[in-house]
Structures are given as C-alpha cells and as structure tokens.
C-alpha cells in the first residue's frame, strides 16, 4: 500500500459531507473519482488524515438544462459528459474537450467537479470553464454560493473553495447564434497531459464582427489561465481582419509561469501554445462563419 494511512468517510448527502469537512478541517480531503488525488496519494505528494468520499452522495450527478445553459453535477463523470446528447448540442466546446481528458478508463471514473476542484493548469475542463464563463456552485454549512470561473482558480492546484466547501455543480452557459468552438492540444500521446493547448469559443454578429470570445489556455501557467489580452484585441473587430497568428501571439505574450520540464521547456511550450491558440481560433471562426 503506497498512500499514507487515512480514515475513510462515505457520507450519503451533501449536507453530511460538508458537515464532515467542517468538523475535520484541514486534515480532510474530498475524494470524488480519485483519478488525480489517488496518484498524488500513491506518490506521497500529499497525505490527509481523512478522505471524504462523495462518490455516493445523492444529487451530485446529472446534466440538466438551467438558466440558458447546462448544469452539470460535480460528481458527473467525463464518460457521462462524453455520451450526453445535451452536452453535444448545447456545449460543443465541453463536448470537444472531453475526449482529451485522460484515457477512456480515466474518464469512466474522473468527474467534472473533481477536475475543476483539482485545478490542474494542464487540464481541459478548467480551460473550458474559463472560456465559457461558467459558474461554480459550492456548498458549505453556511449555505450555497456561486463562484465565477474567473475567480475560482487561485494558484497551483489552488481554488477559491474554503476547506469546508464542497463543489456541487457547475453551470456552463450555452452560447447561441453564430458561434464556433474548438479545442487544440499537443501531447506526446493521446490522453496524456498536454504540452500546450487551447479551448476557444467565438460568437460573431451579423456584420461579421466578433461579439464575444473566450480563450482558455491549457498547460501554460501555474494555474488555469484565460488569454484576456487576445480576447480584448479580437472582440469588436471584423473577424476577417483578425489574424489568427496574432491572436496566438497575444494569448501567450503575458504568460509568466509557463512550466518547464522534460516534456518541453517554457519557451517551447509558449511557442506551441501560440500555435494551438491560432489553430483553435481559425477552426472556431470557420465554424461560426458557416453557422
């Protein structure tokens, strides 16, 4: 057995789960699908005295139409998202990002909420949540609060969640109109963590102006990041005048914490990142123009 010993708790309701989190404090960690947490425990990168398994908590799974978007329960697996006709219809960006999430065996266990709460900068779902301005819903003994994706990711594997808060669901707005969506990644092997990548959403007006756009970057910081400067430069411009390579260049221009490891130096990842943004931008624009 590789992980350090821990006590195991399996609450049946979300209220019971947050009660345990409040009682156990910093010693407790939420266990969802475990596809990120268990490797970290096995490698002893981290250890907790208590794991609170929310895998059987009622009400944490499901996909529902809500407020012009889709609410996805935090405990919903990536495999369920992958098979969902509602996600394919309403959230093409999420649908297209999902096959990049690990391998199918990982997607059978790994959850949407787990990926967001783990907040790995190289993960796909945080980038999609940022690009689409998703709202994350957190429960604590004090009640429920809503955290915009833009305020959720605070540092390496760090989020705005308090120790006694449980991520219960996330609402992704469905973009309608002349929209296009694309995810581009470069990885050594399909399903591995990306060396760099991007998730892009674009909406065009009838006059071909960029009405809004969202660019989430994958693997290009210490935290999931959004390419705000590139988005600002493109928004309002006539789409035919927007140079995709320039969008890519602007998207990586302000990055200051690009990881560097044996899979690629920071400089290499930055260049690959710019290329993936440019490709995703072009693909999303093409789809929006055709639609």
């Amino acid at each position: 057995m590789k992980p350090a010993p821990f006590d195991y708790h399996r609450p049946e309701t979300a209220t019971e789960a947050v009660g345990l989190l409040a009682e156990l404090g910093d010693e407790a960690k939420v266990l969802a699908g475990g596809q990120s947490l268990i490797p970290m425990l096995a490698l002893r990168l981290t250890a907790f005295g208590h794991l609170v398994d929310v895998g059987r908590v009622d009400g944490l799974r499901g996909i529902e139409r809500r407020n012009g978007g889709l609410w996805i329960g935090a405990g919903t697996t990536a495999a369920t998202v992958e098979r969902s006709a509602d996600v394919a219809a309403a959230l093409p960006l999420l649908a297209r990002a999902t096959p990049f999430v690990g391998h199918f065996q990982i997607r059978n266990r790994g959850t949407v909420g787990g990926s967001l709460a783990h907040a790995d900068p190289a993960a796909e779902y945080p980038a999609v949540a940022l690009a689409l301005d998703a709202d994350l819903e957190a429960l604590s003994p004090r009640g429920t609060r809503c955290i915009p994706a833009g305020a959720f990711f605070t540092g390496l594997w760090g989020t705005a969640l308090e120790p006694d808060e449980l991520l219960t669901g996330v609402t992704f707005p469905a973009w309608s109109g002349r929209c296009g969506f694309a995810v581009e990644e470069v990885a050594r092997r399909h399903g591995d963590f990306a060396i760099a990548g991007a998730a892009v959403a674009v909406e065009l007006g009838g006059d071909d102006a960029v009405r809004r756009c969202g660019i989430g970057l994958i693997g290009l910081g210490s935290t999931p990041v959004r390419a705000g400067r590139a988005e600002a430069a493109a928004t309002g411009a006539t789409v035919g005048d927007v140079d995709a390579d320039e969008v890519g260049r602007l998207a990586v221009a302000d990055l200051d914490a690009v990881p560097s490891d044996l899979h690629g130096s920071a400089a290499y990842r930055t260049r690959v990142g710019a290329v993936t943004v440019a490709r995703a931008w072009s693909a999303a624009v093409e789809e929006a123009r055709g639609g």
Binding site: M1, K2, P3, A4, P5, F6, D7, Y8, R10, L31, G34, Q35, I38, P39, L41, A42, L43, L51, D53, G55, A79, P99, G102, H103, F104, Q105, I106, N108, R109, R189, H190, G191
Partner: protein
Amino acid sequence: MADVDVRMTVNGLPREARVEPRLTLADFLRDRCHLTGTHLGCEHGVCGACTVLLDGAAVRACLVFAVQADGAEVTTIEGLGPADGGLSAVQRAFRDCHGLQCGFCTPGFVVSVTAFLRDNPDPTDEEIRHGLAGNLCRCTGYQGILAAARQAAGSGAE
C-alpha cells in the same frame, strides 16, 4: 485509522474482507482474492496493466480504493473467458496475432480492448489506436496488439 468492511462480487463470486481504506482495488484483488492476473506496473494510473471492469466500465484498479468498490461487480482478466476455462474472442485474437511478448501488460490490454469493442464494435484503426492509448507495453509490441484488436472487432468479439 479504522479498517472498513467491504463486499463485492468478483467474477460472479461474492467476496468480503475487512481492509485498510488505503488498500487499492488492485491489491484487494491480488492479495485478498488471490486473483493475480491483474498486474501492477506503475501503481499511479499511467500504465494500465491493472485495468479491470468495475460495474462494466474499464477502470484502473490502482486508482480505485477497495472501499470505493464496496457493493460493486468486478470482472478481472480471470473472469473474461467462458466458464470452461477457454479463451474469450479477444484473448484468442491476442494469441493469434502475437499480441503479446513478455505478457506483463497483456491482462490490462485484454480488459481494455474487451470494454472498448463492446462500446465500439466496428472501430476504425484510428479509433483502435485511441482505445489502446491508455495502456503501455514496454516490449513495444503495439502492432501485434493493434492487429489483435482489429481481428477481435472483425469477429464480433465479446
């Protein structure tokens, strides 16, 4: 640290034990059920050698604690073939196509391919490659494995 009682059905037989919560499903199967066909390579979710079916879904048994599988139905490599001890269609295809060299990774590949073909019975080569991507073969005998998956798909494998 309190031990926990777990019960599950493994290859059709009921199993129960009192375990430490940190015991993985893979170690439970190997050490408690003595089903050593489930192999452990990396033990942190990279290699896929420990792949089993958990309520029908292919998962890495090193990334599931046994306590999480309480009440579940588990199928290991030992449970894939017919009851008479013969080979499943996927296992036959691996033998026919020389889809193994040292054999260490083979249980994980066979379980993964079995689940993949069940959900995707008529895959393209590209889809097979993606389906195999979660398992590592350190002998790098991937062409034989790809051929085995292709043959098993053609035979309407279970």
